[in-house]
């Protein structure tokens, strides 16, 4: 690895922790008068969106701009993509324009993988959500948000923390990426959904599953609600919205059974009244708005670590963290940058 970020499974624990620590340093940028760092000056980042998105696209755009990169937005609507241009021709165009990184969202699972590995272009590919497969930066920002609330001290991790992911797991790339990343970080994930909305092969995911939300809530540290993705449903997965909400929706009564420190998350967009009620979404426990703020810092960290240096810092197994000082003991005055 890894010049690409395609799957949360590609991240080792060291990689993930490096991203989270970098994001922590970058988050303070939001409080400064000049929200700009020069790290990616002269780099070009293309946002290639084949599917609608509000949060993710804006978040990546803000992240790239705060790192001084040039951003080109490319969405399926209003471009040649809507005329039937293939992914390959689009990739060749981006290559010809000299894109250093492509942030891609696609309705087809595996499209970013194709873009990264087919040899069409040399840019870094960052998966911003592909079909029902993965959304690794969302998992990273969720882990970052959990760490800030549940493990605020430096060096603390999410080991042993319990996370319940509730709702339409079948169609959720957020659930899959979160399950993979949280397992890497040592947290225990429980997927809660009706049997029809749990994916085939979920027993190989390193997670627990449950059909009973009320039994899971009192034991969990985080409850993450998922939107029911009706646009991806071609069959009837549950009898009625009302029944779904009753059994798997988070309302004030259910929220009251949570532990005092537990937080409520939602990757958005949420449907108030369906998987979550308005009073829960707006409650003190809800960190839904903070997730969006954290998304910018996490995406900045990913872009910086992939593109900021001569080669990506996210590696598998190599010793990269803190190479300047510290890891080798005392400061040595022999480095060219050591002044």
């Amino acid at each position: 690895m890894k010049k690409h970020l395609l799957s949360a499974a590609d991240l080792t624990r060291d990689d993930a922790e490096l991203i989270l620590e970098t994001a922590e340093e970058l988050r303070s940028l939001a409080d400064r008068p000049i929200k700009k760092l020069p790290a990616l000056r002269g780099r070009t980042i293309v946002n290639l969106f084949f599917e609608d998105s509000t949060r993710t696209r804006i978040s990546f755009e803000a992240a790239a701009k705060r790192l001084s990169a040039d951003v080109i937005n490319f969405s399926a609507k209003g471009s040649s993509l809507s005329k039937g241009e293939s992914l390959k021709d689009t990739a060749l165009t981006l290559e010809a324009m000299g894109a250093d990184a492509v942030v891609v969202r696609h309705w087809a699972s595996g499209a970013p993988h194709n873009l990264a590995n087919a040899g069409w272009s040399r840019s870094s590919v960052i998966n911003a959500g592909d079909g029902t497969h993965e959304h690794p930066t969302q998992a990273l920002l969720d882990a970052f948000t959990m760490t800030r609330h549940l493990a605020p001290e430096k060096g603390q991790g999410l080991d042993g923390r319990r996370v319940a992911i509730v709702g339409d797991v079948l169609h959720s790339r957020v659930a899959r990426s979160n399950a993979l990343l949280l397992h890497t970080l040592g947290a225990e994930v429980t997927l809660v959904a009706p049997p029809t909305l749990l994916p085939y092969g979920v027993d190989s995911w390193n997670v627990q599953t449950s059909y009973d939300l009320d039994a899971v809530l009192p034991k969990t540290d985080v409850v993450m609600m998922l939107r029911v993705q009706r646009e991806r449903m071609n069959a009837s997965y549950f009898p009625s919205v009302r029944e779904y909400s009753r059994r798997y929706g988070l309302d004030a009564r259910r929220m009251a059974t949570l532990q005092d420190h537990a937080i409520v998350m939602h990757p958005g967009p949420m449907i108030r009244g369906m998987e979550i009620t308005a009073d829960v979404a707006d409650s003190e426990r809800s960190v839904i708005v903070e997730q969006v703020t954290n998304g910018v810092a996490v995406r900045m960290a990913v872009l910086y670590l992939l593109l900021g240096g001569a080669e990506p810092a996210i590696t598998t197994g190599d010793t990269v963290p803190e190479p300047v000082e510290g890891s080798t003991g005392p400061t040595t005055g022999d480095g060219e940058n050591d002044a």
Binding site: E21, Y304, G309, A310, E322, P323, P330, N337, A339
Partner: protein, 195 residues
């Protein structure tokens, strides 16, 4: 007034070769403490007191040094000088020449740095490139009234027109040598060695 830099009493080369990598000790713990005490007094003298002072250390060891200087100023003046840290990683001119590296903390004291006299604190001054990066980084945070530079060791060989205002020890070196600063907070002992 021009900063005076009295050389510390040169330690006789006691050859403290406790390990194969130790090298020659230039400052021991007591020398280091005395150097910081002198720097603290010089800062106060130059600034005519501790008014509007902010100390910004450059991570990692510069931050520890900044805290020690602040503690010494507090002993003399009875006033706590704001201390922060300034990470310059993203402003380095060699950022693109090496793998992307981890960021270190930037903590600006609550009062900010606008119209303050900022004293940058670092352990070793060598090429001057870190300080150039720090000046750029500060530009994005605010506009200090003045910026001064305090370093524990100035080893020469500047690549840029940068000089220190407060120096713990001027240490003539060859570029083949390396200077190692060890601090109690980070390395378990206070010393400056050269090899």
């Amino acid at each position: 007034m021009p900063p005076t830099q009295p050389e510390l009493a040169e330690q006789p080369d006691t050859g403290s070769e406790t390990g194969p990598d130790t090298g020659r000790t230039v400052l021991d713990a007591r020398d280091l403490s005395r150097a910081l005490t002198r720097i603290s007094h010089e800062i106060l003298e130059r600034n005519r007191g501790s008014r509007d002072l902010v100390l910004l250390g450059i991570p990692t060891r510069g931050v520890h040094l900044a805290h020690r200087i602040a503690a010494k100023i507090s002993e003399v003046e009875g006033i706590d000088v704001p201390v922060g840290s300034l990470d310059v990683t993203m402003y380095r001119d060699d950022l693109r020449m090496r793998p992307a590296r981890a960021l270190l903390p930037t903590e600006i004291p609550p009062g900010g740095i606008d119209d303050k006299t900022v004293v940058l604190v670092d352990d070793v001054l060598y090429s001057g490139r870190t300080i150039r990066a720090a000046l750029d980084a500060m530009n994005d945070i605010g506009r200090p009234r003045a910026v001064r530079l305090a370093v524990l060791v100035d080893r020469g060989h500047r690549d840029l027109p940068i000089r220190a205002d407060f120096v713990g020890k001027n240490l003539p070196t060859s570029t083949a040598e390396s200077v190692a600063v060890r601090l109690e907070e980070h390395d378990g002992e206070d010393s400056v060695t050269i090899r």
